[in-house]
Amino acid sequence: MKDQPYLDTSPKVSDEIRKTTCYMCACRCGINVHVKNNKVSYIEGNKDHPVNKGVLCAKGSAGIMQINAPSRLKSPLKRVGPRGSGEFEEITWEEALNLATTWLKPIREKNPEKLAFFTGRDQSQSFTSFWAQNFGTPNYAAHGGFCSVNMAAAGIYTMGGAFWEFGQPDWEHTKLFMLFGVAEDHDSNPIKMGIGKLKARGARIIGINPIRTGYSAVADDWVGITPGTDGLFIMSLIHLLLKAGKIDLAYLSQFSNAPVLVDNDTGLLLKDKNNKELVIDQKSGKLVTYDTKNISPSLTASHNGHQTVFYHMIEKYLSDEFSPESVAERTGIKAGKIRAIATEIARVAFEQSFEIAEPWTDFRGKKHKTMVARPVSFHAMRGISAHSNGFQTCRALHVLQIILGTVEVPGGFRFKPPYPKPSSIHPKPHCKVTPGAPLDGPHLGFVHGPEDLCLKQDGSPARIDKAFTWENPMSAHGLMHMVISNAHAGDPYKIDTLFMYMANMSWNSSMNTKGVIEMLTDTTDSGDYVIPHIIYSDAYSSEMVAYADLILPDTTYLERHDCISLLDRPICEADAVADSIRWPVINPDRDVRGFQSVLCDLGARLKLPGFIDDDGNAKFKDYADYIVNHERKPGIGPLAGWRSKSDTGKGPPNQKQLELYIKNGGFWTKHVPKNARYYKPWNLGYQNWAVETGLYDSPQPYLFSLYVEPMRKFQLAAMGHGKQQPPEHLRERILTSMDPLPIWYPPFEETVTDNDEFTLHALTQRPMAMYHSWGTQNAWLRQIHGVNPLYVPSKLMKSHSLKDGDWVRLTSIHGTITVPVAEMAALNEHTVWTWNAIGKRRGTWALDKNAPEATKGFLLNHLIHELLPSKGDGLRWSNSDPITGQAAWFDLKVRLEKVKPPSSSEPVFQEIKSPVEPGPNIILQGQS
């Protein structure tokens, strides 16, 4: 063509594509890993994968810089200098495993609870918990407690599932989508894809978030709410919608516990002798169990003075306490705006409804000809959840969805199998310790009353994190953020070995970072460490490495086997059940081993029953062997795919399973039948399919719990009823916080802070290009986010004579940091914020000691304590939600003042001696 140079437009792309699962964040997208000359050359999304359908985020595409990162640990390490110094010697795996065995064996034989085994961003929790259970310690959990347990637990208790892994908006049909407090974190690609679908058809998105970035930036309407007041705002919407009668009465009557009668004396639900909730049938006027065939449960009937749940809701939420005018000031949202939003919700839910002609049968045997849409959907995650009032706020959001009838209907919120799964069929927590033997059952679960708490005979907490105690009875994910603090304080008891995985507890994963560092290095009078042994597994040279005595180096995500299991946090879609694997698409070039394989080995050395065969030999060669051959129940194992000829999801182990997964692109799916796509909790079509697929043992239809009876049981105990009684100092708090209908109370920090002095809220969010990039400071991503300014609202910038690049001292009741600022207009006027976990400690992650992450980057964690300020009662009050124990990260209140620029952000930490070599100066990825 004329004088153009010749160009080969069809160059060879790669030698081979290996399909596995991403681990650059928690989304678990499918990826195509292109391999050229046995090296990874390019990573892209897998088009067939149920999670990401071909797309891939910045982190996923940057995975190639993760697997080559200079921060990768290279061999097992044994500490030789003092903790925190970073001085290690390389040892062999045999030495490392022997050492671990020497520490752990005596513990197991005498006091298994003296091992605290906590995993952070672990995606193999069903496996790690199985290991811990076999070890016999009650002290196991993952990072949920400091992440989003309020959202998860509120969802499970209310309706059998929450957002993200549990369910998703009906992206295909929703016409109004409200996004609460979700920053850029959690379910990242699916939400972006969903927003894209909404945008393509011009559906409305409302963002409720103090900060207008990311998803809230593309929202059609932005509500810059004051942090910690989402519950009030939601209850005001409930108030307006109830009052206007813009609620789905038929839905409430059939599918929720709105019609269930509440015992007037106890506040418990009326039940028959089989423990089934009772309702009055509208037609016959008779008192019947809720699941009686062909009844119409009445929302308004009463029985011997016992009123329905709905009656109690009306009493509560029609109160002027929740009128828009009453909540406007506190929430920072004008009353007129709240009305406008309620109107829009009502309009779309009831005037934009449509029907899908798909007949289905409910659990009462009633046949429905169509599926009726309520095209309003919601999503929320950490923003509303990480407050001390987060559980009740999340509950309120679920109640709002239910009164609108938008759950499990077209256009609303849809569960992803194996959810819905009501709290009643989840396990309860177990804590019975027997030396030399496994724990009596799974660690984590859902309590249904004081009798399910994890308490010792003397009433003291059985678990080191005090999960499932009167302090936080429904702590379904444990309280990882309290482990080190409690272990250090010996409250409730001392431990011997702290064993952690992928949890950067001496840095961004802890509140009160400096304090935690001190606890990890603190010694007794005899000079021993207060926490005697610390074992840590990580693939990279994180801040936590320096504080461990023994390092078990993990592989990167492309060098390992993993399974994203239905027993754990699965990757299903609303229309399909799905699970997936990771497999070594490249081999490690270092002396490292996948942590799960190491646990298989360690389990065998410790003779844990689940890890040895009848002859006492290792049962599993490695994790891959476990994935294929472990059975939780007969026919049910870590992976559901290719277990039987008809591929139902159940069946005996199949030795070719992993090969078949790899052949299929690394995942397995089974689609939900058409007639089972909606109304899953009540739809017989779905229930039967779920049993066939191994998700339930038997059909489990249930009612949504607008009223959560187990909470009432705790209130009753607090009032003095029952055998199990809370300690005196907690009675009042339990009584007020554990209302079985959602309530709002001010976040705890506000109640112990001088709000005239600490006028500002301080928040963090993870940037989309970095969030959950737990691996390392990635060479490509760190160019995008290498520093994090404190974003300050325009008005405040002006009043403090600040301009971009100036520095401020930010002070909370707990601490002080000195940091650079930048202006932001689209921000709640009383809120400052920053990107989380950009700040790194000098000497870590193989970065230069003057890397901007260390000199300008910073953490807000220094301002947040794991405990509330002392009340003078000698007790340690945790800075957590009183119901679930979720870390109240976002309750933080601060003040700021302008200061002269320091040489680097403060506090400054001593440089850690790096256990790895510094990285190359120049990267030429793709150079042939």
Binding site: V55, E184, K192, A200, T213, W780, A826
Partner: protein, 248 residues
């Protein structure tokens, strides 16, 4: 050769939807990953783990705050790469002919083996679409993934630029603007696609879809018809409820 073709057979380019882009930088990194491996020299990262890391990127996402005279401030994420202008000043200034616009599809490319690294093309580009690679010392720019869009080693639906394939929100669209029936042409018509810096008279091929009007839910201070209370007090509410339930 650095004279521009009067007309190109096809006019390939991107539509970028500012109403949809959530600013996730997926396109930035996917672009980096593909292009450092393919067309021409790698995209170097210098001081990669150091104090001042600087790499070559062909696509970057800015963000802007827009404060209307009245009303709520907005945030707009703004991806920017080469716009493959019809009157590309970067092409005509090139002294060696390394910079050229393809006759067949209008893609603006740099033939790296002819590039002397004078930088004038980057000077001429008002958009900052060209970056000199600090190791290879030649000019790098978006190729519209010319080595993907015709690449027979890729499946047909993968024959699109890497940034478009990866964009999670679907805020990027690729197609032929010469074809009025193409998706990109239709989007531009329907959503009022605009040129960046039209006064620079570069006639960019890539178009931007402006954000839709925001914050339009007007405050309702008195009674909205839809929120007319059916009752004020719980007992009267029950009365209303009973009537409704009879209808179900």
């Amino acid at each position: 050769m650095t004279t521009l073709p009067e007309k190109t057979e096809r006019k390939l380019g991107l539509v970028i939807d500012l109403d949809t882009c959530v600013g996730c930088h997926a396109c930035v990194v996917s672009c980096k990953g593909w292009n450092t491996e393919n067309y021409g020299a790698p995209l170097a990262d210098v001081d990669a783990y150091g104090q001042n890391p600087v790499g070559t990127f062909l696509n970057r996402v800015h963000s802007y705050e827009v404060t209307p005279e009245e009303g709520t401030p907005q945030l707009v994420h703004f991806p920017k790469s080469c716009l493959h202008c019809e009157d590309a000043p970067c092409v005509t200034v090139c002294p060696t002919g390394a910079s050229y616009k393809r006759y067949e599809d209008g893609i603006v490319l740099v033939n790296e083996s002819d590039c002397i690294g004078c930088g004038l093309c980057a000077w001429a580009c008002p958009y900052g679409a060209r970056e000199m690679d600090s190791v290879e010392k030649v000019m790098k720019k978006c190729t519209l993934c010319v080595d993907r869009i015709y690449n027979e080693n890729l499946e047909p639906d993968d024959q699109i630029p890497a940034c478009v394939r990866t964009c999670p929100a679907g805020a990027r669209h690729f197609g032929d603007f010469n074809d009025p029936e193409s998706q990109v042409s239709k989007l531009v018509t329907e959503r009022g696609g605009i040129d960046l810096m039209p006064e620079q008279e570069t006639k960019p091929v890539n178009k931007y879809l402006p954000p839709r009007p925001k914050d339009t839910l007007e405050e309702i201070d008195i009674l909205a018809p839809l929120l007319k209370p059916v009752a004020e007090k719980p007992d009267t509410f029950i009365g209303w409820l009973n009537k409704q339930l009879d209808k179900i």
